[in-house]
């Protein structure tokens, strides 16, 4: 994304078309946060992943699912609760590096706030039961209609790919979560809607009638605020989640950063494997290039007149 935008920006300014680009999108540009997973060598911060899962489970899971994830993913290599070896006191034949046997994951599944629907059982009925490590993480709503009924007719999107599904996803979701602000005086927000300068929307529609002329155009001199309104109330407040580690602050910023770390992992659990294979591949290819270039010079040297 970065590469493409910069190339385009360069080409566009060459052609003198920067004005056209600036006019697209009226939301505030996302804050740039420093992520542990950024860059070619970036990895996930395991503690942040665990805290992020906790924030997701306690707060976001009331409204959002993560349908691409199973509990077992939490205990796979690179996941928040991966165990290399079992904690003391386990029988020798238990392999805790196997996500389905990982005791933390089994407990998280068993204590999860929602049940999974299974069946039909022997009498032909569908039954709710406690989740197993191999189950998908159940979401809050059985279907879209109920989800909308519960959320002022808005649909809370599934979060398992959210950081890939937005431009500069991690920065964007982080900014959205910490960025709620009081609506500017020029706009009127309908109940059940919340103003957020980072959300893409069109605030012209929310302008108070006195700032619009008879045809609905904005009166001269009135600035339309950036951002938009969405149906999600600010989900985070200081202290809402109790972290086991006393040293970690229980603030909106910290929660937001942690949950974004978790959601970025959820979007691409294989990111660490990808980057480490990438480093090896590039080393290999560069050496191959050197050898081939050298062979090429050698082979062609014999041709000099």
């Amino acid at each position: 994304m970065i590469a493409r935008t910069t190339i385009f920006a360069a080409l566009a300014s060459l052609a003198g078309m920067t004005a056209a680009i600036a006019s697209a999108g009226s939301a505030k540009e996302a804050e740039h946060h420093h992520w542990h997973f950024a860059g070619p060598f970036g990895t996930f911060d395991k503690d942040a992943l665990q805290r992020g899962y906790q924030v997701y489970e306690t707060v976001c899971a009331s409204c959002h699912g993560v349908e691409q994830l199973s509990f077992r993913n939490l205990g796979q290599k690179g996941g928040p609760f991966y165990l290399n070896t079992c904690p003391a006191g386990f029988a020798d034949n238990v392999d805790c590096s196997n996500p389905n046997e990982n005791p933390i994951v089994k407990a998280l599944a068993a204590q999860y706030r929602y049940q999974v629907l299974d069946g039909p059982d022997d009498s032909g009925d569908m039954v709710e039961r406690t989740p197993l490590a191999s189950d998908r993480i159940p979401g809050p709503y059985p279907n879209e209609v109920i989800a909308r009924l519960a959320n002022n007719n808005a649909l809370p999107p599934d979060l398992s790919l959210i950081t890939k599904a937005r431009h500069h996803g991690p920065d964007y979701v982080y900014s959205l979560l910490i960025g709620y602000a009081d609506a500017p005086a020029t706009v009127e927000i309908t109940p059940g809607q919340y103003y957020n300068p980072y959300f893409h929307g069109d605030m012209t529609q929310a302008l108070k009638p006195e700032f619009l002329d008879a045809e609905g155009h904005v009166v001269d001199g009135v600035v339309v605020p950036v951002g938009g309104v969405l149906a999600m109330a600010p989900p985070l407040v200081d202290g809402i989640v109790d972290y086991a580690d006393e040293a970690t602050p229980e603030t909106v910023e910290q929660y937001a950063a942690d949950v974004v770390e978790f959601l970025t992992w959820a979007s691409e659990p294989k990111m660490e494997a990808r980057k480490s294979m990438g480093v090896m591949s590039l080393i290999y290819l560069v050496i191959l290039c050197i050898i081939l270039y050298w062979s090429y010079r050698r082979v062609w040297a014999g041709l000099k007149k």
Binding site: M1, I2, A3, R4, F8, L11, A12, A15, M17, A19, A20, I21, A24, P40, Q68, N73, P157, L161, K164, A165, R166, H167, G169, H200, S267, E268, P269, K270, A273, R274, K275, M277, G278, V279, S281, L282, L285, V286, L288, C289, L292, Y293, S295, Y296, V299, W300, L303, K304, K305
Partner: protein, 430 residues
């Protein structure tokens, strides 16, 4: 170029096979002993690079197809299943998705190379036209492949593009219904696109064979555009001279490829395609993959009706003409001189042509409003003007620089300060 066979079957088995199916002879004469001009520069490595791209797409595609489900309710999740649960599935998918882009990057360079050095001219017209066929098949393949993950951009790109066909008078609606297999983009559309996306690469493979056959009759063009006069002095055997040089070019290309796959795998894609297709919600802007953008810009540049031709039909005609015009290029450019090294005037117009194509690419990704429309119209006019007016006129009016007597001459002259040839190119292999 066609040349007497130099194949010598060594073992008894090779002799036995050679008398029945001389396939090793064919391979030897085509890829080992094939006489190749000794002055080919790095722009000539893109043929080999393209072959590698095609093979990579076919191999990764076959593995993906083992795990992919072509159904509207499952396609998106099956791609995520590939990303998360299939061993190295993420690698297959990222290589395949970025492979499409790399393939087009290479083909565009390959085509501009052909334009610059006049490789489409007699006796290579058929070779060039087969190349255009490959390019069009590639575009169809990539378009249908992009629909398969069934994200928002997949669905809406399919909707926009299939709807274009309805602009064709009389039969347009029927063509569109045929694409859809129904009355909108839906499951039957996804099924036939999957079937065709699997089929077309093998059609491409077949046309590539013809393309190489058509190359091996007249032999390679070269940066001077002067035909081989003396096989001994002007050429070297393909192996080892060009196997090693192409190998180096391919390896460098793979570095770029790997950098995308491993460190920015979604950089060339659109975030909306990580949202499941939803026919009820139109994305804020529908943009094609970068490699379609020049053609998308031409499509949208026609904003006016021309007599009975609506602006929509006009756009479709302009877009398809921009491809079809390449077929007649060998007969539009009448200059006897192939290489633009010796055509200073043509070279200037060519540079502007490249700029116009890049500008069209940028404009295709921007909203078609305000000044952008005008810029796209100017660039579109230049695109067609270059082929229909500038090249034909230049053939009559320009005065080319003197040509070297032979390839060997050009190579030797390079080392003298008062070299006769245009020195714009980096020194080729020496």
């Amino acid at each position: 170029m066609s040349h007497p066979s130099t194949y010598n079957p060594n073992s008894g088995l090779e002799k036995w096979l050679d008398a029945r199916l001389p396939i090793l002879r064919l391979a030897h004469d085509s890829f080992v002993d094939f006489p190749t001009p000794k002055n080919l520069n790095y722009w000539w490595t893109f043929g080999g690079i393209l072959t590698v791209c095609l093979v990579i797409q076919i191999i990764t595609g076959i593995v993906l197809a083992m795990h992919y489900t072509p159904h509207t309710s499952m396609a998106f999740d099956s791609v995520e299943h590939i990303m998360r649960d299939v061993n190295y599935g993420w690698l297959m998918r990222y290589v395949h998705a970025n492979g499409g882009s790399m393939f087009f990057l290479a083909v565009y360079i390959h085509m501009f190379r052909g334009l610059y050095y006049g490789s489409y001219k007699e006796p290579r017209e058929v070779l060039w036209m087969l190349g255009v066929v490959i390019f069009i098949l590639m575009m169809a393949t990539a378009f249908m492949g992009y629909v398969l993950p069934w994200g928002q951009m997949s669905y809406w790109a399919a909707t926009v593009i299939t709807n274009l066909f309805s602009a064709i008078p009389l039969i347009g609606d029927d063509i569109r219904t045929l694409f859809w297999g129904g009355f909108s983009v839906d499951n039957p559309t996804l099924n036939r696109f999957f079937s065709l996306h699997y089929l077309l690469p093998f059609a491409i493979f077949g046309v590539v064979m013809l393309h190489i056959w058509a190359l091996h009759v007249p032999g390679n063009n070269n940066p001077t555009g002067v035909e081989v006069k003396d096989v001994k002095k002007d050429t070297v055997p393909f192996h080892p001279y060009y196997t090693v040089k192409d190998g180096f070019g391919i390896a460098v290309f793979l570095v770029l490829f790997a950098a995308f796959v491993f460190f920015n795998p979604d950089g060339l894609g659109h975030p909306d395609n990580y949202i499941k297709a939803n026919p009820l919600s139109t994305p804020a802007s529908i943009v094609p993959e970068w490699y379609f953008m020049p053609f998308y810009a031409i499509l949208r540049a026609i904003t006016f009706d021309l007599g009975p031709i609506s602006s929509k039909l006009g756009g479709v005609i302009a877009m398809f003409s921009s491809l079809l015009i390449l077929f007649v290029l060998p007969w539009l450019d009448r200059s006897k001189v192939r290489s633009m090294r010796y055509r200073p005037a043509a070279r200037l117009w060519f540079v502007i042509f490249v700029v116009a194509c890049i500008a069209l690419g940028v404009l295709g990704g921007l909203p078609a409003e305000g000044r952008n429309v005008l810029y796209a119209q100017i660039a579109t006019a230049y695109y067609f003007g270059f082929f229909l007016i500038i090249l034909p006129l230049l053939g009559i009016m320009e005065t080319p620089k003197p040509l070297p007597r032979s390839i060997a001459d050009a190579v030797l002259n390079k080392h003298k300060p008062e070299a006769a040839s245009g020195g714009a190119q980096p020194a080729p292999a020496e």
